[in-house]
């Protein structure tokens, strides 16, 4: 992890986005976006619909020129350069397979604009179609293809152009769950093997976590946090990011004592805890701390009285959700109305505790994320 980060830092960014603002009439879609996207990286723009992630992607593609700010690709400022002369290619949400052309003609479409000789086009097309596992479908028309096949054709049509960057606008949202899981894996391993920079727009946090090297979480036209999947999950910068990525239990908390190295928190339902100061995020001001967050898997339902944990609290099981490998418990602790979600792996010796039972909940100080404006 660390080694890879160091390696990437020495590489010049493939895309440099500086203070990009985009306005549509009176509506501001992007409020000054600044970010670097590294060469060869799988980068995701993640956020709820209307957060500006697609607008940012289209600004990189050249479809929505920024109102102000710059986008540079491979060191070259893209201002005034339209989409058809940028070293980027897009996989559209609808795939946009030309319905009057067959698969080969679709994939060769862009090469034809480059006035490439026919034989060479045929060779390139055949090569990329076998890369996406579609070589036997060259003569099919768009309406004779399944959703997953269309997705592959759209990807092949972009790949064959050998762009510096491939832009993917929610490419998996039209597929059913099973196919989506499979395509996520394929897309990820394909990107790794060819090493082209991918930028993926998605509203699905799980998809972003699985596929990306780094993720920019966007809300209301701004990047709230740009980090690795693990960084986002373990150290969300604020409550909004924390609740968007995975599940997070929030509890009111306040600072009761401060020392040079530690601060003492009074946490609702859990009690007192000493947190090392260096565990706080850069932006967290100790005076403004009002909430802590803890992930479901960081809490433990203690099945055995002898099980050891740093801290224990007694609570009542309100509800359970059984997923086979996992059970999700809703446990209400005295002093806090909203039950906490706790996930437990189902092991051989344990049976699910019935709602209404009293259990001990174990928690550790290292699993707590502190929030404050």
């Amino acid at each position: 992890m660390t080694r890879k980060d160091d390696m990437n830092d020495s590489i010049k960014p493939m895309i440099e986005i500086r203070d990009v603002i985009k306005k549509f009439g009176t509506f501001t879609a992007l409020h000054g976006i600044t970010a670097d996207i590294r060469e060869g990286e799988f980068f995701s723009l993640l956020g709820p619909s209307g957060c500006g992630k697609t607008t940012l992607l289209r600004a990189i593609a050249g479809f929505e020129p920024p109102t102000s700010g710059t986008v540079a690709i491979a060191g070259k400022d893209m201002a005034g350069i339209p989409a058809n002369r940028r070293p980027t290619n897009m996989v559209f949400q609808s795939y946009a397979i030309f319905p009057h052309l067959n698969v080969e003609e679709n994939v060769g479409y862009g090469l034809k604009t480059r006035k490439m000789p026919k034989a060479e086009i045929a060779r390139e097309v055949a090569e990329v179609l076998s890369l996406v596992d579609m070589k036997n479908y060259g003569k099919r028309k768009a309406h004779e293809l399944s959703g997953g096949q269309r997705q592959r054709v759209a990807l092949a049509r972009a790949l064959v152009m050998r762009p510096k960057v491939i832009l993917l606008d929610e490419p998996l949202s039209a597929l059913d769950k099973k196919l989506r899981d499979q395509m996520q894996m394929e897309l990820r391993s394909l990107q790794r093997s060819i090493g082209i920079t991918f930028i993926l727009v998605t509203h699905d946090q799980e998809e972003a976590l699985i596929m990306s090297d780094r993720i920019a979480v966007m809300f209301d036209g701004q990047i709230e946090q740009l980090d690795t999947p693990e960084g986002l999950y373990r150290h969300p910068v604020n409550k909004r990011v924390a609740s968007f990525i995975g599940v997070m239990n929030f509890l009111p908390a306040r600072v009761t004592a401060l020392s040079d190295t530690h601060l003492t928190l009074g946490i609702a339902a859990l009690g007192e805890a000493q947190v090392p100061r260096d565990r706080l995020g850069k932006d967290v001001n100790p005076d403004k701390i009002d909430t802590i967050g803890v992930r479901p898997e960081m809490l433990t339902v203690l099945f055995d009285q002898d099980e050891r944990s740093q801290n224990k609290v007694k609570g009542e099981v309100v509800d359970t959700e059984y997923y086979g490998d996992m059970t999700y418990y809703e446990v209400r602790l005295p002093g806090h109305d909203k039950p906490l979600t706790i996930s437990m792996r189902n092991t051989a010796g344990r049976s699910v505790v019935a709602p209404g039972s009293t259990v001990s909940v174990g928690w550790g100080i290292e699993s707590i994320v502190v929030f404050g404006e």
Binding site: A83, F92, S94, A96, H100
Partner: protein, 271 residues
């Protein structure tokens, strides 16, 4: 229970079709009849009325006029229809619904009203009546048909297709030529055929707005005053009927092919 209602529905449908098309069948029937009197029983088979048409110069002039009006109308209204259809399918602008509604209004406005209004206006403007004033009137009533046909063609055209072409390095003109045009072409041809047919058959506006140059329907109407000419009118009507039906079938076939290309349901009526 169910088969009774099905049976009655069939009877109803058959009676309806007879009522609708029996008068039309009379046209070719009398066109091939030897007698000049339009009455049963038929007196014998002849093609002399059709041959006679060949030697009627005034008819040829009227046919020529109708061709000029029909072709011009088809071209102009399809062009205008293409602009309007693209605008209404692609862009949102204030008052869009109202504007589109106003453009489509001549579709339901009685033609006689349109014709009289245009005549009054042309008189006020001091414009002499000619074939071009007829073209103007015909464009007015044909453009809504063009818009209806081309709107469905443009709506079936996903905006992302044009963007994809542009993204793949093609120019705007190249995108139009390689993606947009092939996908809407059947709709364009269908619009040309339908507007031409409407113009060719249209009588009221042509009657009011034509000067000394009459179109075919106006010519036919003028011939109806002479009983002896009736069989040749029947013959002419038969030819017009055949041509119209042929053009409309062609137009619909093209529209369906276009819809099928874009993977749209083909059973939807075009206009």
């Amino acid at each position: 229970m169910k088969w009774i209602s099905v049976k009655w529905l069939t009877v109803y449908a058959v009676v309806y079709m007879i009522f609708l098309y029996a008068p039309v069948i009379l046209l070719p029937l009398f066109a091939f009849n030897t007698s000049t009197i339009i009455a049963f029983p038929l007196s014998g088979f002849t093609t002399e009325w059709f041959v006679g048409l060949w030697y009627t110069d005034t008819l040829h002039t009227a046919l020529g006029n109708s061709m000029i009006v029909g072709v011009t109308t088809a071209l102009v209204s399809t062009l205008l229809g293409a602009f309007a259809a693209r605008a209404s399918a692609r862009f949102a602008f204030p008052g869009k619904t109202g504007i589109v509604g106003l453009i489509m209004l001549p579709l339901v406005l009685p033609e006689i009203i349109v014709a009289v209004a245009l005549l009054v206006m042309l008189n006020q403007l001091g414009m002499p009546l000619s074939l071009w004033t007829v073209v103007g009137g015909h464009v007015l009533i044909c453009t809504p048909f063009s818009i209806a046909i081309l709107s469905s063609a443009y709506r079936g055209l996903d905006r992302e297709l044009e963007e994809a072409s542009f993204d793949l390095g093609e120019s705007r003109w190249g995108t139009f030529r390689r993606v947009t045009l092939p996908l809407v072409l059947p709709g364009v041809i269908s619009s040309l055929l339908i507007t031409f047919t409407i113009s060719l058959d249209e009588f009221i506006i042509a009657f009011f707005l034509t000067g000394t140059d009459v179109t075919l329907p106006v010519y036919i109407w003028s011939q109806l005053r002479f009983p002896a000419k009736l069989p040749s009118v029947m013959a002419l009507g038969t030819i017009l009927l055949a041509v119209s039906v042929l053009l409309l079938i062609l137009a619909e076939a093209l529209r369906r092919r276009s819809a099928a290309r874009q993977g749209v349901d083909t059973t939807l009526a075009g206009v």
